[in-house]
């Protein structure tokens, strides 16, 4: 009864001629647009505009008064540090992502193997590195790696092993930042792969066992194909995040020793904010863009494919 009354009122309401603005506000698509408007503004003003502004900034000279389109880039290309940063960023990101994915995959299997009632506890414990803010946990690593009081070196010395200059030597420092990144990121992969493992139908393993497949064949022919999508998306996603990593390198080494561990983000920070040369910093950070775009294209393709499968 009440419904009928309301729909009557609505019918009368809609038959009345309305002014343009009121009509606009009544349309469903306009309401939707207004609800999404803050989001659109946020993306346009604080993400899209700065991204293009960075490209513009990269074409200015240091005092930002003259337009010199290529000077920053030729200056960068001539510097040895720049090529070192490029190499270090690639080595850092690729090695870290590979080991994060590998450790995540292996540990996910171990967690999946144990009885279900214990899994929650282990999962909860193993995700802790991901929960601690990386700037804070890197401080703990910095202290573990301390040149004179390193707790790791204390163990090594007691076992009669040589001590390690964790952050003093260029190669060990590069190893250290990768180690921390793996420590921080592997739990994320663990959670993702554990969720994916649980969604693989048990019958497939039964069928493989009946066909006499070894554990290796089961992983290669059942687990990996079933998890292909999730592996691809986590690896691509993590590649972006790791390439853009700032916290760990900045806190642990701040780029040192002698700029040997700088990645794009920390070197851009050094040049642009600490050194006051905003155009140079902007041009360095722009070099992250191709990698990001490359990964983004693959992620988008995956989303579209899945969207098509769903519909």
């Amino acid at each position: 009864m009440v419904d009928a009354v309301i729909s009557d009122v609505r019918a009368i309401d809609s038959s009345r001629p309305k002014t343009g603005m009121r009509q606009f506000l009544r349309r469903k698509s306009s309401i939707a647009f207004l609800m999404a408007l803050p989001l659109i503004l946020l993306i346009a003003v604080l993400v899209l505009y700065p991204a293009f502004y960075a490209m513009y900034l990269a074409t200015l000279n240091k005092s930002m008064q003259h337009f010199e389109p290529v000077k920053n880039f030729t200056w960068l290309f001539k510097r040895e540090t720049f090529w070192m940063v490029v190499r270090q960023s690639c080595v850092f990101a690729l090695t870290a992502v590979f080991f994060k994915a590998l450790i995540g995959f292996i540990v996910a299997h171990f967690v999946h193997n144990i009885p279900a009632k214990g899994q929650r506890k282990w999962r909860g414990m193993l995700l802790i590195p991901w929960v601690i803010p990386p700037a804070m946990s890197t401080l703990a690593w910095l202290w573990l790696f301390d040149p004179s009081y390193s707790a790791f070196n204390w163990i090594f010395a007691h076992l009669g092993l040589p001590t390690i200059p964790w952050t003093g030597d260029a190669y060990w420092a590069r190893f250290s930042v990768i180690l921390i990144n793996v420590w921080y990121g592997a739990p994320f992969f663990l959670i993702m792969y554990l969720a994916a493992l649980k969604s693989v139908p048990e019958q497939l393993y039964e069928a493989a066992a009946i066909d006499g497949a070894s554990w290796w064949q089961r992983i290669w022919y059942v687990t990996l194909p079933m998890m292909r999508n999730i592996i691809a998306i986590t690896v691509l996603f993590s590649t972006i995040v790791t390439f853009a990593n700032f916290d760990i390198v900045q806190v642990l080494t701040a780029g040192g020793p002698i700029d040997k561990t700088h990645v794009f983000a920390t070197w851009a920070f050094r040049l642009g904010i600490q050194g006051g040369d905003i155009p140079a910093g902007a041009s360095v950070s722009l070099f992250m863009f191709p990698i990001l775009a490359f990964c983004a294209i693959f992620i988008l393709r995956d989303i579209h494919r899945r969207g098509n499968e769903a519909s």
Binding site: A36, Y53, L57, I132, P133, A140, W141, A186, Y205
Partner: protein
């Protein structure tokens, strides 16, 4: 016959029946536990070492004793930090920024996700993809142009943004809103259409549908998005490091690193205490709301 018995053995690896469990299955279980303990040691050493160091005095830290053991436990580091005005200022700044950012994020992303999941409009499909792409744009690409933008903004309007904690309220939503929207789109899209159609038939308007149906039904997603927004804004390091410098405007991660580390003098007991206390709020939230936390984490990939 043999293969049939094998399939029974391997049939339920997650629920081992001890009577019929084969020998190698039991060994696999033992090896799993062995390696899990090994990895747990690797994953938990840094936080535990933080705790160990935080309970020591400076004298014990610089003594040549076993660094992995506390001989004279003391809470002096905690007392000193929790009564230091500077540290409490960092903590308060962090808390205020995070709470405000969570509110802003929710106010922007929930209506937007509702509009994108249910009410099609011109360009809505492009926008949904754009939201996800925005999530992939990292902070380290944007901090330099944003820094310059705020300086120019100051020249034009006279409003000082750099070196004020509220500048973080402007920039943090760029990190939290896209992913929160993305999670909420996934949760809203999974609500059956019949539910809001029934409400529409009963004469509900869109505001009522959102507040009385979608938000209650998608509450787990809302909690996951809230946790995500809080942890991201609590942990963010690059933006506050680039945009704030005076000690009274700093948030926790930057505050600990710039003020507790003075030149070459490292007071490690206090640094570890500060870092541990700084890591406490996300850890506490995680301890109590682990399932929502993990749901939010996996939603990004599985709902996509």
């Amino acid at each position: 016959m043999t293969s049939a018995s094998v399939s029974i053995d391997r049939g339920a690896p997650t629920r081992p029946r001890y009577g019929s469990m084969s020998r190698d299955r039991r060994w696999a279980l033992r090896w799993s536990y062995f390696f899990l303990v090994l990895f747990a040691v690797f994953f938990l050493t840094p936080p535990l070492y933080m705790l160990i160091t935080s309970l020591k005095t400076s004298a014990e830290i610089s003594a040549a004793t076993n660094p992995w053991w506390v001989y004279h436990p003391t809470l002096s580091n905690y007392i000193e930090l929790l009564t230091s005005n500077m540290y409490l200022t960092f903590f308060r700044n962090s808390a205020i920024v995070s709470v405000f950012v969570v509110c802003i994020t929710m106010l922007i992303s929930v209506p937007a996700a509702f509009a994108l999941a249910r009410m099609r409009f011109w360009g809505s499909a492009v926008l949904a993809t754009g939201v996800f792409l925005t999530y992939l744009v990292p902070d380290s690409l944007l901090f330099i142009p944003l820094f310059k933008m705020f300086a120019v903004f100051n020249e034009w309007t006279g409003i000082q943004l750099i070196n004020k904690w509220w500048v973080l309220l402007v920039v943090y939503p760029t990190l939290t809103v896209p992913f929160a929207t993305w999670i909420m789109i996934g949760y809203f899209a999974s609500i059956p259409k019949e539910l809001d159609e029934a409400a529409l038939m009963d004469g509900a308007n869109y505001r009522q549908i959102l507040l009385k149906i979608f938000i209650p039904v998608a509450l787990p997603g809302l909690i996951a998005a809230t946790i995500f927004a809080f942890t991201v804004s609590w942990a963010q390091f690059l933006y506050p490091l680039a945009f704030t410098t005076s000690p009274d405007q700093l948030v926790l991660p930057v505050g600990i690193i710039t003020t507790l580390i003075k030149g070459d003098v490292y007071n490690w007991g206090q640094i570890m205490t500060g870092a541990l206390l700084g890591a406490a709020p996300p850890l506490i939230i995680y301890a109590f709301l682990m399932d929502y936390y993990i749901a939010g984490l996996t939603a990004g990939a599985t709902k996509g």
